[in-house]
């Protein structure tokens, strides 16, 4: 028999699930390890120094792949395992991208991107924080992001898709009365022959609504964006993405 006391009115499940200790993968050598660790620890103020040091020995692509990208992969793992919160991930992403900038300057060209994604926040909606998180996570995972910003008219999204031919387009909305732009965008894209996956998410946006029109895939959480982009770049069409993420 359980008798109510002030100590059992609720259960602090968060304390029962205290995160495991952080263990970081090893880099190929000390210099790359420093780069990797700077990304994992989100040392934005220190990244230039360690990247430049690594560049005295390694070519820029090696620093990107073996230091910066590997570090970000560690960050993704730590987030997946519940060790990191979103802020640590975003700061690490900023750090990684600052390092990539340095390497790209040294190469004289941008690093090869995995693919292009167009992102926007719906017309009439100024709540674009979810979109910004999506942008950061996609960039940190090697995608070119065409950021259309917030309160974006339907025409602008359609035109951007035609211009950049992305693997994926995303839309964020807080309000149910602004997410209705998603259907208009999807219909226009279908009409014009651009059958690409269109991820809709944020606030009150529901699976039921986004999957009620062609192209629509509901994004439950910003953290899904890199996996969805990876699937789209690998050739999965909107039906396959919908089946995988909304099935």
């Amino acid at each position: 028999m359980v008798t109510a006391t002030l100590d059992n009115v609720f259960v602090r499940y968060d304390l029962k699930k205290e995160a495991a200790e952080k263990k970081v993968a090893a880099g190929r050598d000390d210099l790359l390890q420093k780069v990797l660790t700077a990304v994992v620890d989100g040392e934005e103020e220190n990244i230039a120094a360690v990247v430049n040091e690594a560049l005295t020995v390694h070519d820029p692509l090696t620093v990107i792949r073996e230091g910066l990208v590997k570090g970000m992969a560690e960050v993704s793992r730590l987030w997946d395992e519940g060790v990191y919160f979103l802020p640590q991930t975003i700061i690490s992403s900023d750090t990684m991208l600052a390092g990539v900038d340095i390497c790209e300057k040294k190469m004289g060209r941008p690093m090869d991107k995995k693919g292009t994604v167009v992102t926007h926040t719906a017309e009439g909606d100024i709540h674009d924080l979810g979109q910004k998180i999506v942008n950061a996570l996609l960039r940190a995972n090697g995608y070119e992001v065409i950021d259309l910003g917030k309160d974006v008219p339907v025409d602008d999204v359609v035109n951007a898709v035609k211009q950049y031919k992305p693997a994926l387009v995303t839309g964020t909305a807080l309000m149910t009365t602004t997410m209705t732009a998603f259907r208009k965008i999807a219909n226009r894209l279908v009409h014009d022959g651009f059958e690409i996956p269109f991820i809709g998410g944020g606030g009150a946006v529901s699976l039921e609504y986004v999957t009620s029109f062609d192209l629509g895939i509901w994004g439950k959480d910003a953290s899904q964006a890199p996996d969805m982009a990876s699937d789209a770049v690998s050739g999965a069409n909107w039906q396959k993405l919908r089946e995988k993420y909304n099935g």
Binding site: V9, F10, Y13, F85, I90, G124, T177
Partner: protein, 457 residues
């Protein structure tokens, strides 16, 4: 400009639901904070109904009628309806005005037929984009001000807003756990924008003889709170969000310093702090807003409310009727219990139950528990020499309270985050101008589009 330097109450024990130091009367025989708690129902139109003015007005007509009808059916003495504008209602000022007028006609009809007391809050949408335009001179501002006028002329009794000044900084910083930027974006820039906006809103309210209600830090502190989420979420640390709430209180206070009279906005979870300082009646939402979002202070946040709300419920059918009817019923019975407790001399017992249900559930509920809200408010009022000083003092007090109560259990991670946040806060400059200079340089570089001139800087 800041002027609240003392507390409206001598202690947190004095604060109780249903009574405020400065009750507000408006609408149809409707008094808030005068010894009685009323429900505030917030209906939200279905997607698609906003396509035309005609379809949106019809949607509101149905929603409001369903709510008023249920209130009479179940014998509730009164109700406030909030018209929380969807974008289209503010973008088209005549839509907002005509819906307010229609709602007033409906309420008058129920008052005439049944004596149902009632009032209307119109919450105008703030569609300004601080990182993309001059928010002190832009089309969105012009439309918002025009819609305040049409709403007041149409029949709104209470004009409110969820303003967004400083959001370009706070959004960037909340997801980076950067308390400096949160303090700057909310405590300094947010307050400066509130000063700008609320001067205009109060002028409009006075022009039409209606009540300037209040504002909320929904665009900032609620972002932190919602991202912190539930016990298993890993987006924003809960201790960081709780400190952000205290900063949000410093910013929300500005509306009342500029002449807003309350009742405050329901989604301002900082409102217990506001009530402690100002004595103005407050609207809050808790378990009854589960239709809109989850909540870790579902009972506690009712402890000192004067209006009890549901945040926003989209119009749909349920077994028990439509959602506005069902939520009117839920809210109505909740306040009936509170009013019964008042009548039986048991209000403080019920208040204690509400508080103890949730106080240690989460750092956020802990900070807005009346006794802690009062202490945060005291720190804020005692340091009310500048927007920066008072926000910083409130934040430090909130952090110290969380760390200082052994019953407020924290994971190691949450504790470390809070300790670092406090160290950061204590390392910031003493003078507001020094802090502004530091932040302006820093965030101009980090955030494209940040324009200090938007805040008179």
């Amino acid at each position: 400009m800041p002027k609240y330097t003392t507390m409206a109450y001598n202690s947190a024990e004095e604060m109780i639901f249903g009574s405020a130091k400065y009750p507000v009367k408006y609408g149809r025989d409707f008094e808030v904070g005068g010894g009685f708690v009323y429900p505030e129902l917030v209906p939200h139109p279905r997607p698609g109904s906003e396509e035309t003015k005609k379809s949106l007005m019809r949607e509101y007509e149905r929603m409001v009628n369903d709510s008023l009808e249920r209130a009479v059916t179940l014998g509730f003495p009164g109700i406030q309806i909030e018209l929380e504008h969807v974008w289209q209602m503010t973008k088209n000022p005549d839509w907002g005005g005509d819906i307010a007028a229609q709602t007033r006609r409906q309420q008058e009809d129920y008052y005439r037929k049944y004596g149902l007391k009632s009032a209307i809050r119109a919450t105008i949408a703030d569609n300004r984009k601080p990182d993309q335009e001059n928010i002190r001179d832009c089309k969105s501002l012009e439309l918002a001000l025009k819609t305040f006028e049409t709403s007041a002329a149409g029949g709104a009794d209470n004009l409110s807003m969820e303003s967004v000044g400083g959001k370009e900084i706070s959004d960037y910083c909340i997801v980076r756990q950067d308390i400096r930027g949160v303090l700057f974006g909310i405590g300094v820039l947010g307050s400066r924008d509130m000063e700008f906006m609320w001067k205009k809103i109060v002028e409009i309210a006075n022009k039409y003889g209606v009540t300037p209600g209040g504002d909320t830090n929904c665009a900032q502190a609620n972002v932190a709170m919602f991202m912190a989420g539930g016990m298993l979420d890993k987006s924003v640390p809960h201790t960081f969000a709780a400190v952000t709430r205290a900063i949000g209180a410093a910013r929300t206070l500005t509306a009342y310093e500029m002449g807003a009279k309350g009742p405050t906005k329901d989604c301002a979870y900082e409102d217990p702090i506001i009530k402690a300082i100002t004595g103005i009646p407050i609207a809050t939402e808790g378990k009854t807003c589960a239709c809109a979002h989850a909540d870790l202070q579902g009972n506690l946040i009712a402890a000192v409310c004067d209006l009890w709300s549901n945040e926003a419920v989209e119009y749909h059918d349920m077994f028990g009727g439509t959602t506005p009817a069902v939520f009117t019923e839920i809210l109505g019975y909740d306040v009936a219990l509170m009013n019964t407790a008042i009548a039986m001399g048991k209000a403080h017992d019920l208040k204690a139950m509400l508080v103890n249900s949730d106080k240690y559930r989460d750092p956020h509920s802990f900070v807005v528990a009346p006794e802690n809200a009062y202490l945060v408010g005291q720190a804020l009022a005692a340091n009310n020499t500048s927007y920066y000083n008072r926000a910083k003092a409130a934040a430090i007090k909130a952090g110290e309270l969380i760390l200082g109560d052994k019953k407020m259990l924290l994971s190691n991670f949450e504790r470390e985050v809070l300790q670092k946040t406090l160290r950061d806060l204590q390392s910031f400059p003493d003078r507001e101008q020094d802090f502004i200079d530091q932040c302006t340089a820093l965030y101009r570089k980090a955030i494209p589009g940040f324009n200090p001139a938007n805040y008179g800087l």
